[in-house]
Every structure is written in C-alpha cells, then in structure tokens.
Symmetry: C2
Subunit: 361 residues, 2 copies
C-alpha cells in the first residue's frame, strides 16, 4: 500500500500551479517526480495530470504493479509512447501541456511535438522540484530515519580498526551495515577517501589502503523508503599535525557559523557567500571549496534548492538541505564537513547529530 | 591508470562517422558514452570531440580526477556550462555539432542553442550506442567476468535454505556475495520474486517470505569494471505441479530454439518474431511476454541493440545481448529464462552457463 503515503496535497499544489500557468495538462517523466505524485516505483512510465484526471501511462510490464501501488490513478497502457501519448492528448483535448524540460530528452520532446499538432509544449525546468523542495512532515520522518541508519552504521564501522584496510572494503562494510539496518541501499557511491585522496571532492572509495596519520573522509548516506541522507565527516588516523588541525578547525568554524546564519526568509545566496568568505579569510583561502555550499536532499540525493553562487530566493519552511564547506589542498589532503539542515516555521534544526569534534580513530 | 583501457579505436570510429555526417564536433553528455570514449568516471562532465582535439569539459570538482584518469585528453574547466561551452565552440570554430538527442535534455539543448548563434546542432538518437554495441575483446572479457561473479554467487546462495526467508534478505545476501567476489555493486535492482510475484516482469525483491511449492525467479547480475551481467533463472521451491512444469518447459524450449536461430547477419526482428511465436503457439499463448525479447548489455545493463517488435537491422559480430522470453500468468506465477549471447564472426556463443534444467531448491 505504498500509494497511501502519497498525499493528495501534492497534486493540489501542482494543479494550482497549472491553473496559474494556464496549463490544461502536465507531463511528468522523471522517476522521482513520477513517484512523488503517484507512488509508482517502476522503472519506466509517465504521468499525465489534467484538471480532473490522474493518468499513469505505462507499457505492459508495469500494469500489475501500478494497480497495486497507485490508488486513485487511471492506468492506461501504451504500445508506442510518442504516438499513443499524442493520441491521448488529442482525445482529452489538452492544448497547453507543461513538461519537465531538464528531464525530458530533446528526442522525446521532438517526437511528441511532431505527433501532436495543435498542442503547445510549455517547458518548466524545475517547477516540480520546487514543489518537492518543501517537505511534508511524513517526508521529514523518512529523512530522519535515513540519517539515523547512516550515523549508527558509521559509528559501528569506526569501532573496528580501519588502518591498513582498503577504502573500498570499508565502504562495503558501511553499506552492508546500513542495509542490515533497513536501508534499501547506499544513497550514492560512498566516498571513503584517505590521505591525499581526501583532497578529491568526489573521491569514491578506491583500492588504496588507509594509512597512519592521514585524513580519512567519509561522505556517506542511506536510502530508506526512497528518501536519502547525505553526511560528511573527516577523521584523523593518528594525532593530527598542526596544519591538519588548523585546516580542520577552519572548516568546523565555517560550518558552525554558517548554520547560525540560516533563518526562514534569509537569502540563500548570502548564506553561500558568508560560508565562502569564512574560508577565503583564512590562511587556506586558495583552497576553498569550488563546489556549491549545499543542496536539497529528499527523493534525490542532490535536488532543489542548490546553494551556490547563482542561487536565488530565500530559505523556506520545509526545506531540507546540506551545508558542506570544505578545504582541498591538492597532493596533501582535504577536509569537508557536511550536515543536513531543516528549516521550520520559526526555527532551524540540524538533523544530523554525528559529533564533529576533532576525532582520532 | 583506467584511461589505458580506453582504446583509440573508439575515437577513430567516431571520427569516421563524424566525417561521413559532415560534423566538425560531437558533444558527448551521457555518463556511459563519456566513460567509453575518455575513461572519465566522474559524475558530471562533457566531451567535445573534434577532428583533432579531445576535450573534457568539467567543473572544478573533477579536475584532479580527470587528469589521473584521462590520458590524451585536454581538460578544460567551466564555470557556467552553457555559456562556456558555447564560447568554446565559437573559439575552435565548430559549426556542425552532433549531440546525443536521447540523452541531452530539452533544457540543455535550448540553452546551448541560444548561446551559440551560427552553430548547427545535429541530433543523433543512438549513434554512440551503435558504436558501443559492437564490443571489443577487452570488453567481452569484462562481461564474462561479470557473468562469472553473478553465477558463482547465485550458486552459493542457493546452497542455503531459502524457504521462509524474505525475498529482500535473499537479494541482499546475493549482492553481498557478488561484492565480496569483486563486483562494484549489483548491476541493477535485483529481482527475487516468489509465488505469484514471479508474474511481475519487474518484481524487485520485496518483504514477502519465500513459500513452499512456489516459483522462485531470480533476475540478477553484477557490475564489474563498469560492465554488467544480466541473467534470469526460475526455480521451484518444491516438486512442480503439472502446470508449473509445462509453463517452465515451454519457456525453456522457446529460448533454446530461439538461440539456435541467431547467426551473424540474421534479421533481429525475425528472431524476436520466432521467439514470440513459440509461446503464442503454446497453451499459454495469452500470457506471452509483452516486453522485448532482449537487449544489449555492456556499460549499461539495457543498451542497444533492443530486440523487439520494432527492431531493425541484423545481428553483427561483437554484439552481446540477452535473450529472455517469459510467460506471466497474473495471480498465479510466471517463468522467465534469460541468457547472455555473443555473436562472433563465424559463431554464436552463449556466455552464461548456469544450468537451465528444472531445478527444485
């Protein structure tokens, strides 16, 4: 009964947006948005939402599954997607169709357009992502659960002796622990990056053995009930050098002060600039993170809102996102600390709780 | 030294195609094609191939990684993809740019087009996939290894008592075994479907406990060195009923006779029709597979060529693909058998070797 977890509120919000944009239909094609609105977990399929109808448009492989999962949805089977979808549009007289322009391929767009004379295709690059960016209480519970699983699992992994083990062995053990605790899978390719590799912002676990007196960076998370967690901690595999300690404390101070800057209504861009300036005003200014400061987390591990130099808008109640400043010194090592933060009506809560003090393992 | 495994032959083939199509540049945007031509394993980035240059176009996160992985490639960093890529096109005077039209989003296309006056964007829905569809010997070795890991792992899982265990526990154990044998991960969400659930063509492992005298269908595979395996077997958890046995033997006969039909140069469509007619001429004609008969396997678990009612062309030496007929009786159960097949110059080899006799576990 997965479908029961999909609230009707989501479709109401979409329909209000459609009304405002003068659309009489919306084509939903990306897996996460399809799941968000319908509860359908299959690999392939499309939603057509109109003023009065919820249509799940599928090939034969997924009919039985959809009937189980998607209460309140008409299931219509297609043979050839482009032709049959165009016929459906014509049959139910859709004239202005919104679509996900960052997700639909150029090819699908062209084929649909060619087969649908008289239909206006109206691109929306992130309308559905913005709706999804404001989490419902039920979603936040799932994210909390994904965080709990990830944090407990890393805690257990750290109790073993890690020095001498290969990064990829440690990654496998961490994923295994998360899955035994009920995760569907790891939320993404886990980063276990030791020594110089900690300077790679995306250094997924490699065959390198973890050495002594190194940085050891974990960027890890779980997928639980289709929701993600995404956390980073950097440890020391021996008493840190003066420089290692300084780099670490610079990042720690940056994230702590940055989180205090976040309030409902605060400009996202300003918070990014604040965090970057903290590093730029440190002795490590040449090695400040070149990636964004953070991103929304939910059905996707990286989703709207993105917190970076081109952010617009303000923090809104219901947003759940990461804050993850870092310092990366090529050929030497790096430090990143990543927390997950929720904005509520009158407060800001750090959802992650793994200690961020200097920790020698 | 991952880059060493990327043969220059691939780029030669692409350049010959570009010459034939009168293109002076090709934009590669999908992860698998990016890896295939450059060896780059990062999450995000673009290739621009011209007559004389191999350019990897990346944001700051991946610069170090690319320099390690991609010998023979110029690495150019961008800040804003659409604007900076358009400037690059203008700088090196690309006028006819091929692109992957089934992969590039409508949004990216529009932004590139808007920023690139004078450049003609020429869509190719599956040109790169066709190049990748003809495997090199080194790729076939990796696929064989992905098959070996998957088959050995299932063999070990079946030795344990499975009745009473939940499908998802069995799936986790199978993945764990594959990873201990060196798989990067499971090749896809593994299907472990027992009883009635075996009638779901995509019934990923659920909390259902495996019962007695049921069908138990595994659709499983490994990812090893970025190459996939994809195999299906259906077992019995107790002595099969007459009908269960009949359904099974119908599928078994269909796949065995179908594989004998495959030769280099044989029409792909005809082989599909042959397999379907085998089931349509059985007592289970109303329950024949509605999915394709098979698909290429390589860097993607489902890739070109697709073997179905709209297939064109013929089987070519170097193709590696699945053959997977099935019978699905809703509410009762189903059987699918899936083999991986390679076409060579003068012969056809079934790469998978797991027994397909009736097997009670």
């Amino acid at each position: 009964m997965k479908g029961k977890e999909i609230t009707p509120k989501r479709l109401d919000i979409l329909r209000r947006q459609m009304e405002r944009e003068k659309l009489d239909g919306f084509l939903v094609s990306s897996p996460q948005n399809r799941y968000y609105f319908s509860g359908f977990t299959g690999d392939y399929g499309f939603l057509l939402v109109t003023e009065t109808r919820n249509i799940l448009f599928l090939d034969s492989r997924f009919l039985e599954q959809a009937k189980e999962e998607c209460r309140g949805w008409e299931v219509i089977q297609f043979q050839r997607f482009h032709q049959d979808f165009s016929s459906l549009l014509s049959e139910i007289r859709v004239r202005f169709l919104g679509f996900e322009s960052q997700k639909l391929s150029f090819f699908d767009f062209k084929e649909l357009e060619r087969n649908s004379p008289g239909v206006h295709f109206v691109p929306f690059p992130h309308l559905l992502e913005e709706i999804r960016g404001i989490k419902e209480p039920g979603e936040i519970l799932k994210i909390r659960e994904a965080i709990r699983i990830a944090e407990e699992s890393l805690g257990e992994v750290l109790k073993g002796g890690l020095i001498g083990n290969r990064e990829e062995e440690v990654s496998l053990e961490l994923e295994w622990k998360m899955r035994l605790k009920g995760a569907q899978k790891a939320g993404f390719d886990l980063v276990v990056a030791s020594g110089k590799r900690s300077a790679l912002p995306h250094g997924v676990a490699s065959p390198k053995a973890i050495g002594k007196k190194e940085f050891l960076l974990f960027d890890w998370g779980a997928l639980k009930d289709y929701y993600h967690s995404d956390i980073t901690r950097t440890f020391f595999t021996g008493s840190p050098s003066k420089k290692q300690r300084e780099v670490y404390l610079t990042v720690k101070e940056a994230i702590e002060e940055t989180i205090l800057q976040i309030t409902p209504g605060r400009s996202i861009l300003e918070v990014f600039q604040f965090a970057l300036s903290k590093i730029k005003n440190s002795p490590f200014k040449d090695f400040a993170f070149g990636h964004g400061l953070g991103h929304g987390v939910g059905l996707e591990v990286h989703e709207w809102p993105f917190i970076g130099p081109r952010s617009e808008g303000t923090f809104q109640p219901g947003m759940v996102f990461t804050i993850e400043p870092g310092i990366y010194i090529p050929g030497w090592g790096g430090v990143r600390i990543e927390e997950m933060v929720m904005v509520a009506k009158n407060r800001v809560e750090v959802l992650t709780s793994f200690p961020r003090e200097i920790s020698v393992i």
